[in-house]
Amino acid sequence: MKILVGIKRVIDYNVRVQVNREGTGVVKDGVKMSINPFDEIAVEEALRMKERGEAEEVVVVSVGPEAAQQQLRTALAMGADRAVLYQAEEEIQPLAAARALLQIVQAEDAGLVLLGKQAIDDDANQVGQMLAALWDRPQATFVSKLERSGDTLKAMREVDAGLENIEVDLPAVVTVDLRLNEPRFVKMPDIMKAKRKPLDIKPFAELGVEMPPQLEVGAHEPPPKRQGGTKVESVAALVQALKDKGVL
């Protein structure tokens, strides 16, 4: 089985994101970029499945700017076999990304697609579900445990009510949650080795995606700030303050 892992280049999760002066987006100049952390977990899971003999090949793909090669190289250094970048400098919204992935999945004849449950930039949480719909295959979202047995996957999902188990037939789309695994650290020799692994760059247009209607993205603004910061000196003062406020 071939596993396809989709990754997105995003602002590193440690960066304090700021709205730009014009209010048209966020400050990206000189800001550290990384693999979307959820996608990194997806790469790790794919590699573990391969190491267990449950998959033969792990292919990482990204749809995004030329610079996303860096993130694909990181995934190759983690252990992925090869990478493909479909280069698009403009913003690709979730449905267009899902249509693009469908083309790639079919061309690669992938048996499993692993994706992060959401990207930490637009927080849309849509692409995996959309791909599964277009592909007419099962989806297991927000997965924190994954087991393959033959042609089925058993997935434990993190849901509001707790942990839920579902079983799906392959091929399938799985989107991963934080507690699925802890991604490995990349070592220097692996980085060197990754430089020799194949990374193809193709124009996004080559996929022939019919562009769906897009959301028009307008103003960006910081969220309203909470007025906090008052400290009380004692438990008695706290109880009094809460009573005065009418919440106790």
Binding site: V168, E216, V247
Partner: protein, 320 residues
Amino acid sequence: MSRVLLIADHDGKTLNTGIARTVACARQLGNVHVAVFHAPDGDAPCAAAAKLDGVSRVLSVRHEANGAPLAAVLAPQIARLAAEHEGGYDYVLAPSTTFGKDVLPRVAALLGVPQVSDLMEVIDARTFKRPIYAGNVITTVKVPEGIPVLATVRIASFQAVGEAGEAPIVAAQAEAELPTHSRYLGLAESGGSDRPDLQSAPRVVAGGRGVGSKENFEIIFKLADRIGAAVGASRAAVDAGYVPNDMQVGQTGKIIAPDLYIAIGISGAIQHMTGIKDAGCIVAINKDGDAPIFEAADFGLVGDLFTLLPELEKALDAAG
């Protein structure tokens, strides 16, 4: 008037408390029909939905396959209703619960339209605000004309509607070819406690890494029970195995808006603050006076939680 289809989140017995908040958003947009997809023996949530103010009709979609919340099974039925029921709907909404997040993008893809995730404010009929970058940025998005608006609703951003309504419950058909490639096996683990529901409780007490262990978490439960609060936890506490994942509050857990939120031993990572910033009053108890949680807390108390919590209980007893 525009027609709004709201997809109910329920477990076959009770309606998710987020639906009353989602209705508050939906009724700003048009005439609200709530669709309850359920198994033949699971129609109780229909009656609960019919009571919500602002709901004009409840569509009861009964099918053997609808007893489990499987997106692959429900999405084609929802898409069918959305596109064809009495001429179709202008809006299809679901709450931003794990159920809504799972199923609605699948519907959007079937309909070939974009989805607005975590709608937090209605600007006009097609323009909305939503959070990105874990709530650090609010952006305005507009859905182009000529297509239905699909959105998951950030429930913490809306106040629940009342329950004085009497909407009719009507049977609806949503025939679609249903897949057999996905099977629901059930809940593996759940809080299943008698405590109030975390997502709707007016008071929440939450513990973080500072609580130190699973055993120590008892002190959090004790305080919560003393004031009739639900119990939550930070991601650090869940990752450390102190409590199960359904108690996690924050960006990747539950986003809540209680009247009172007491954060104990929680430092206040951005991802956690995203989950509580709509709370009425935030109290922080932490031994690190520089913890970021104090910046957002209405009342902060610096000190050792194992000393302060017993004191707090005593003070509450004394205050009656």
